[in-house]
Amino acid sequence: MNAHAISAIIRKDLKVVSQNKGVMLPIIILPLILFVILPWVVTLMPFLGDVFGITVDDLNKVQDLINRMGAGVQQELAGYDQYQVFVVYFLVYVMAPFFMIIPLMVSSVIAADSFAGEKERKTMEALLYTPTTDRELFIAKLLSGWLAALAVALVGFVLYAIMANAAGWSQIGRIFFPNTMWLVLISWVVPALPGLGLGVMVLVSSRAQGFQDANQIGSVVVLPVVFLAIGQVSGAMSLSVPLVFLLGLVIWLLDGLLIWLGSRSFKRGRMLGA
């Protein structure tokens, strides 16, 4: 395995992506909204009831929702008043599935650009004539998406931790984020998530006509996380440490399966549509 060649391809892919506004804008804007703006909006919501149309009744409904959740969640939220519960519930529990969208989205957008986009720009052919093996190409293409997604997720996490605690400080009065569930999420689930986006993209990219095409097909990978978010908001399920751990395990297994399938079908000739 030629690590030098792998790092050169990663360097190339990331440089090219960083120059592409169409790819970079969603990677910057979505985390900015979720991790910087949203914490402040959530903490201000109970106090701007007229603006957001929130009544005391709504706050009670949140409490009802929490009463249906697991003992761990209830225990964590015990001792908080009505407003504090609202803030902690949204910033810690509701936001968790939304956070998971970020590494998925970043990895699939970068993979779409790296696989299908490169084919569309006709830059792939020159790469295929280099002395790299199919395996080195495959690993390099996977790693460029994976590393970028992890970097964005980790920077986003640190940013979100600062913003959530800063925004909630006036009501909570102490550092409440991250809790254990988030630590499991960030250390176990988030590193696995880019694999889903990348695995799907590897499978679809040889058939896709270009970046937009691949990106649209690949975006279906976000759907399970959207369902997770709906489940969390509606109270149909509640994220807890064991559930998050189990979720991570399932995603790692899916990663393994998708990457195994992708590596089997990844032949340099197929990248030319041959």
């Binding site: 030098h4 060649a5 090219v16 830059t123 002395p131 790299t132 000739g269 030319l272």
Partner: protein
């Protein structure tokens, strides 16, 4: 002569289409080998096969002693390919493009800087090296792509339409470079082109491909001798023997395919190919005609190409 490329019955099919059809040929070390054919004739597919980028449907090949399917990476470390489209990352600068590919081609780190500067100077791109390639003209991109193909000093260079899109001066420069690489530095050049004038000027031997099949192979001179069916010839003879010669020429419809024309003490006729020259000369000498000079008008690969095309049309 050592064969650096040996192809035997190579075939590549894409679903219903046969892109390369039982191709067999050899390319020798140090030669400039022209690979001619119209668009879609199978030239690019052959280059991809020879570099182990795609797999053959059947047949075998050895390139620089390697089987491209088994030793693709080792082979590609010793070949350089200029693809039909420049295939540069347009969002990156020329320098970035070259430095990334220098790493991919395993150019030693200590040499990268020097090598890139040499090539940028060679191709007259040094002053715009830090600009994004997206702002380059088509000719500049092509020159940069050629520089990239030469980064690792390959033994065997595949050039797919090397001068396409270049202005005459840049094309001349590239052609000079191709000759220099082959003649002085000992590289073998596999030149895919449909520019017949260029092929005639540069190539030691050429192969003509039509719908994936090899239809002709040889030196440009051999091919013109073999395939050109209309050859204008001027014959200088004794002035007093002109009438008699005209009579002889008119009696040889197999060799002489046009009415002889008398011009400035000579006769101009169209013969049925190069092989008709010795036959005609033999007859004239036999008939005691004193021939002072017989000069054939220069023929070229373009005539070969059209002759092959016409031959195929008539078969169909």
């Amino acid at each position: 002569m050592t064969a650096v490329i040996k192809i035997n019955q190579l075939t590549r099919c894409f679903k219903e289409t046969t892109a390369v059809d039982q191709l067999s040929l050899e390319v020798f070390a140090g030669e400039i080998f022209g690979f001619l054919g119209h668009n879609g004739a199978g030239k690019t597919t052959t280059v991809r096969l020879l570099n182990g980028v795609i797999e053959p449907t059947s047949g075998s090949m050895r390139v620089l002693g390697f089987d491209p399917q088994v030793d693709g990476p080792a082979l590609r470390a010793r070949t350089g390919v200029l693809t039909e489209t420049p295939s540069m990352d347009e969002r990156l600068t020329a320098w970035d493009n070259l430095s990334i590919y220098a790493d991919l081609y395993r150019v030693p780190r200590v040499e990268v800087h020097k090598r890139i500067n040499e090539l940028l100077d060679e191709f007259d791109l040094a002053d715009r090296a830090k600009e994004r390639v997206g702002g380059y003209s088509k000719g500049m991109k092509q020159r940069l792509a050629l520089a990239r193909a030469l980064l690792h000093k390959p033994e065997l260079l595949f050039l797919d339409e090397a001068t396409s899109g270049l202005d005459p001066i840049a094309a001349h420069h590239v052609n000079d470079l191709i000759v220099r690489l082959a003649r002085r530095e000992g590289h073998t050049v596999f030149l895919c082109t449909h520019n017949l004038v260029e092929a005639q000027k540069l190539c030691d031997r050429v192969a003509v491909l039509e719908h994936g099949r090899l239809v002709a192979l040889g030196t440009p001179a051999e091919l013109t001798r073999q395939y050109v069916r209309r050859l204008d010839v001027q014959i200088e003879i004794n002035e007093e023997q002109i009438e008699g010669t005209l009579h002889i020429l008119r009696s040889l419809p197999r060799l002489v395919i046009s009415e002889p024309v008398r011009t400035n003490g000579a006769l101009t006729v169209t013969l049925s190919g190069h092989e008709a020259i010795p036959d005609l000369l033999e007859i004239l000498v036999h008939k005691s005609i004193r021939v002072y000079r017989i000069a054939a008008k220069e023929t070229n690969l373009e005539q070969v190409y059209f002759a092959l095309h016409d031959e195929k049309e008539s078969v169909q």
